[in-house]
């Protein structure tokens, strides 16, 4: 206690109460994702995430168009980069999961999906933007619904409506009363739950990751400005950890885009498959 007394500022009785602007430190929570609208357009509040998602469309279309415009046999640097991403989605995700017969129909969709999620995720660690669009669940819902309609629609196109339900709920080679148990389970997991898990997985990762980054950054700032040397040291550690978590997030952001696209193509491939 005596050491602490020496190094502590005499008035710092309530250290966490200190903050940059003299207000109290408010820990980040779900409220951190409810940003006030930037502008009012036709009665709608235009928020940061809305601007960001529109910007993502500009970035994606601009980049891919610029990369593919020349379609040269010997690619330049930009075309090579675009082809690397496109080839990755086309061959690794689409062709390997859907099969070489039908995959080309889904390549535009999967390629758009992958880039759309990737760009919007990386907003989370790009300076000044720093907000992953998909930490707002509303933007994920249409993507999950599209995936859901796509794989069910494809399955029904291939097997017929009843045929698809049979294909999706009755595992091949299983007979007898066990089906009474299996069919509802398979129906639940293959048809009902998939869009929900797609949504929640992406949302949860982006939400939690961003929350963690905010916590390390604002907490670090609050500790540094507390006027207490020890808390200040912890604040520096917090910033250091924040940087580390940013790198982790960079990986998670890619992985989530990859997983979402991979699962979508797997669902499509499964719906198109002849047998289980």
């Amino acid at each position: 206690m005596s050491v602490l007394d020496v190094i502590q500022a005499p008035t710092a009785v309530q250290p966490l109460a200190a903050s940059g602007e003299g207000g109290e430190f408010v820990a980040p929570g779900p409220g951190s994702f409810e940003l006030p609208p930037w502008a009012e357009v036709a009665g709608f509040g235009l928020t940061k995430s809305m601007l960001l998602i529109v910007l993502s469309a500009v970035i994606i279309i601009g980049f891919t168009y610029a990369a593919s415009r020349k379609s040269a046999v010997v690619p330049g640097r930009l075309q090579f980069a675009g082809e690397a991403v496109y080839g990755f989605v086309r061959n690794t995700l689409a062709r390997d999961n859907i099969g070489s017969e039908h995959f080309m129909k889904f390549v535009p969709y999967l390629f758009s999906l992958f880039l759309f999620i990737l760009v919007n995720n990386y907003y989370g660690i790009i300076p000044f933007l720093q907000f992953p669009t998909f930490s707002r669940i509303g933007y994920i819902v249409p993507l999950a619904l599209i995936a859901w309609f796509t794989y069910i629609g494809v399955g029904m196109w291939k097997h017929g409506v009843l045929g698809y339900f049979k294909h999706a709920t009755m595992p091949g080679g299983v007979k007898g009363p066990i089906l009474i148990l299996l069919v509802p389970l398979e129906f639940f997991s293959n048809i009902l739950v998939r869009p929900v898990t797609l949504t929640l997985r992406l949302f949860g990762n982006m939400f939690a990751g961003h929350l963690l980054l905010i916590l390390f950054a604002t907490g670090g700032a609050a500790l540094l400005s507390s006027g207490n040397l020890l808390y200040g040291a912890v604040g520096i550690l917090s910033f250091g950890l924040g940087i580390g978590v940013s790198f982790l997030e960079a990986l998670v952001m890619f992985l989530q885009a990859y997983v979402f696209t991979l699962l979508t193509s797997m669902y499509i491939g499964e719906a198109l498959a002849d047998e289980h």
Binding site: Q14, L16, A17, E24, V26, A27, P28, G29, P30, G31, F33, E34, F44, S49, M50, I53, V54, S56, A57, I60, I61, T64, Y65, A67, S68, R69, S71, A72, V73, P75, Q79, G82, E83, Y86, G87, R90, M104, V107, P108, Y109, F111, S112, L113, L115, F116, S135, R136, I137, G138, Y139, I140, V141, P142, L143, I146, F203, F207, L211
Partner: protein
């Protein structure tokens, strides 16, 4: 301020749960994704596919032409090797022929030389024989003359008459030959 303020509050200020989608965001997300999808399907994927297809065909074309060239080169090589083998054969044949011809020529030459030499020898013999005959004839005449003149000188000059002396000599020689023959026959017997 107590510890509870550090625990994230489940509800935001307006009481909106982060798990509840906002309709305007759903609609905006749908529209933006649709725009991205259609733009990519219309403008981007065909270009990438075109580049892929062109590259594939370029590589395949290159491989095919390389294969053709290789086959051509192989055919050429085989042809050249065949030609070379032919040429070697030809050379060997010509050499063999030349050797045969050479041997033939040598044999012919030898034969020719032999016949020539024998002809020369024959000719020489004939000449010698002729000369001997001539010498014999002229010697016979001369011996007669000499003997006659010798005898004449011995007996005087009574034997100057040519006709007579010739007759005497001829008779003498004929006697001599006869005598030789009979002696030869006598020795044979």
């Amino acid at each position: 301020m107590d510890v509870t303020s550090l625990v994230p509050v489940p509800m935001a200020a307006e009481g909106h749960s982060p798990l509840m989608p906002v309709l305007s965001e759903v609609i905006l997300g749908l529209i933006v994704f649709a725009i991205v999808f259609f733009a990519i399907r219309k403008f981007v994927v065909p270009n990438f596919e075109k580049a892929f297809a062109e590259r594939t065909s370029a590589i395949e074309g290159g491989l095919a032409s390389a294969e053709t060239k290789q086959a051509e080169a192989d055919a050429k090589l085989a042809e050249l090797e065949a030609q070379l083998a032919d040429a070697r054969h030809e050379a060997a044949r010509i050499r063999e022929e030349a050797r045969e011809q050479g041997a033939q020529i040598v044999a012919e030459m030898r034969e020719q030389a032999q016949s020539e030499s024998s002809r020369i020898v024959e000719h020489g013999k004939a000449q010698i024989e002729a000369e001997r005959q001539q010498a014999l004839t002229s010697l016979r005449a001369e011996v007669g003359t000499l003997a006659t003149s010798l005898a004449g000188r011995i007996v005087g000059e009574a034997l100057e008459d040519d006709d007579r002396s010739t007759r005497v000599v001829d008779r003498f020689l004929a006697d001599l030959e006869l005598h030789e023959e009979s002696r030869g026959a006598g020795s044979d017997a």
